[in-house]
Amino acid sequence: MMINKDVKVVVQGITGNQGRFHTNIMRRYGTQIVAGVSPGKGGENLDDVPVFDTVEEAVNDTNANASIIFVPAQYCKSSIFESIEMNLNPVVVITEGIPVHDTMDAVWYANLKKIRIIGPNTPGVIIPSQKIKIGIMPDHVFKPGNIGIVSRSGTLMYEIAANLSEKGLGQSVCIGKGGDPITGLSITEILKFFEQDNDTKAVVMVGEIGGNEEEDASVLIKEMEKPVVAYIAGKNVPPGRRMGHAGAIIGGSSGGGTAENKIKVLSSVGVKIAASPKDVTDLLEEVI
């Protein structure tokens, strides 16, 4: 399983606005938030969650086994390393704007220690049937079911989940891969998980222009038994522009990284391509 139902989460950066706000929403949804970490604020209680100065203390006191990070970008590398050192797994990094060198170092250290990083710049992960979310997604648009979603974009994941839920297509697990150019878990790794997950019958991949992860994933998809439906954002964006997400740089002359190329490669391995987010629902109904 990507996340055990006994997951006990520590919130790094709990005393910030976003950290505190989403801690309460996650708890209300059902997630066990057992501790917060905020250097210098140790010993306090924030909305009944004990706050510690270090992750080590939080883990010793509460047996936390996963982490979600809201720490400002400048300090984030250190926070990720701190979680990895304490073997928290997964480490969900919400923060955006982390220097790419910092992310790179953290991802390699996580691989060395066999820890999964989700993000950075991710909405996180949600398992509707278990009422667990480690993330910032609006949970009411997600319903229990057997569709897995992996998305490079947060809001687009919500959009598509909302459409699915409305048509009675609930979700097993939804994972935001993170919008940064370098992230922890790749689309391929997440698809591998879905292929093995007993609760998942079909997968939605939400891609976008830039990078090669969708193309790379086609190698795995070719071997997968479960059907994959994809939506790729950015068909109507002119080449040579970069759209907000650092990940969304699109290619020029040779076609790599463009929506067109991604759609071509994915189609060639049997992926159904949705013309719009709404289309995803119809295509899914065809394949399951």
């Binding site: 989403h22 790179m104 390699w108 809001t155 919008g179 954002a233 950015g234 109507n236 076609g255």
Partner: protein, 402 residues
């Protein structure tokens, strides 16, 4: 362009070079700045002076080369590099270049350097392979021309060494690829230390690219960085305060304004203004509007957790494009709260006159509160992206043909 090297087999080209000047994420240093950094790390560069005026320039290393300091690519072909044989010519050339623009970029500084007696031109660089999530060192015996041309013309000539970021890049790693481009004997040790130094710079400056092209061997056997390029990750600028002012200079006013306000804006050719939260959602909104026959006028991403002030700024920016005949605001609340967005829209509406169509769709965190605020101010809220897209397309078309 450098990214093209990483996967020449698949011909995956990212035209980074074309966009870095107005990109949101990468800052490019001027040649003279890059060379200054290189020489502080022990890499030899040609003798030279940088100036922003032709008045007082005294430079004795003639014959010289006079180079416009601009950030656009293809400077040489565009006339930004000139030769001069004596002090009079230097003055005249500097004056001329300072009065011109290269590919639309005003020349503010000029670098005057000794002209090198070149025996051979190599390429040396370190860049980030985002797909492999690791740095890669690149070297080629075919320097001088654009590296993307090398990648196309003689891809085999480009030698690569991937770098485990935890292990680092050691002299013995560097030595391997320096040797692979035909550098031997005592030169091997010197050039190896240049490539090692590039990696140190790459790490210490949070670079996306550190490149010497051409890296020249002179007729008398010296090795120098004849041109240099450094691209720095904008997100790391809190560690590199010395570039704070400069990064501002590299953006247009509108870009700077949006950047400062954490809004991502890119102008497009159409007439429907698009505002949303999250790059993926905004792109999907553009795609959907297109699907129903509309023409988006821009890409405008509020980012995560926008405040009402950021919403007001975004609407302002979108309206600054006079082609805009309607606006579609599409919000999927997660870290973004719909009530904040609604407050921004209402405040904008209450302070500025909006005489063109406005379609709002919002779902997610604090959706009910947001919807209530809009509706109590007479702005209807649509539930689905498709419905909203269709509506804005219809409204703008109706408006246009009215």
């Amino acid at each position: 362009m450098i990214y093209s090297l990483i996967n020449t087999k698949n011909k995956k080209l990212y035209l980074l070079d074309n966009i870095c000047h107005y990109s949101w994420q990468i800052m490019r240093l001027y040649e003279y700045q890059a060379k200054d950094i290189l020489s502080r790390y022990g890499i030899k560069t040609p003798k030279g002076v940088v100036t922003d005026t032709a008045e007082k320039i005294e430079f004795d290393e003639t014959p010289s080369v006079v180079k416009a300091q601009v950030l656009v690519g293809g400077r040489g072909k565009a006339g930004g590099i000139k030769f001069a044989d004596n002090n009079g010519e230097i003055k005249k050339t500097v004056q001329y270049l300072l009065s011109t623009s290269i590919k639309g970029e005003k020349v503010k500084k000029v670098l005057v350097e000794e002209r090198l007696d070149i025996d051979h031109e190599f390429y040396l660089g370190i860049t980030l392979d985002r797909d492999k999530k690791m740095p890669v060192a690149l070297a080629s015996a075919y320097g001088g021309m654009d590296i993307e041309d090398i990648a196309i013309n003689s891809p085999q000539s480009i030698k690569k060494k991937y770098i485990d970021p935890l292990f680092g890049f050691w002299d013995f790693n560097a030595r391997k690829i320096v040797k692979d481009i035909g550098i031997k004997g005592n030169d091997l040790i010197g050039v190896t230390s240049v490539l090692s130094a590039l990696y140190t710079i790459f790490k210490e400056y949070d670079a996306e690219l550190v490149e010497i092209n051409p890296f020249v061997r002179t007729v008398d056997g010296r090795f120098l960085a004849a041109d240099a390029k450094i691209l720095i990750d904008d997100n790391s600028l809190f560690r590199h305060r010395e570039f704070e002012e400069q990064v501002k200079m590299q953006y247009s006013d509108i870009e700077l304004m949006t950047k400062m306000k954490n809004i991502a804006y890119v102008g497009l050719d159409g007439d429907i203004g698009i505002i949303g939260n999250g790059a993926g959602l905004v792109m999907a909104t553009i795609d959907t509007v297109n699907l129903y026959g509309g023409n988006p006028a821009n890409f405008c991403d509020l980012g995560g957790g926008a405040s009402k002030d950021r919403v007001i700024d975004a609407i302002d920016i979108v309206f600054s494009n006079k082609n805009v005949k309607g606006v579609f605001i599409n919000i999927m609340g997660g870290i973004t709260r719909c009530d904040e967005i609604a407050k921004g829209i209402i405040e904008y509406k209450n302070t500025k006159r909006i005489d063109i169509p406005f379609v709002i769709r919002m779902v997610g965190t604090r959706e009910d509160e947001g919807r209530k605020i809009c509706e109590s101010n007479g702005i209807p809220v649509i539930s689905t992206m498709d419905e909203a897209a269709k509506m804005i397309v219809r409204l703008v078309r109706d408006n246009t043909y009215n």
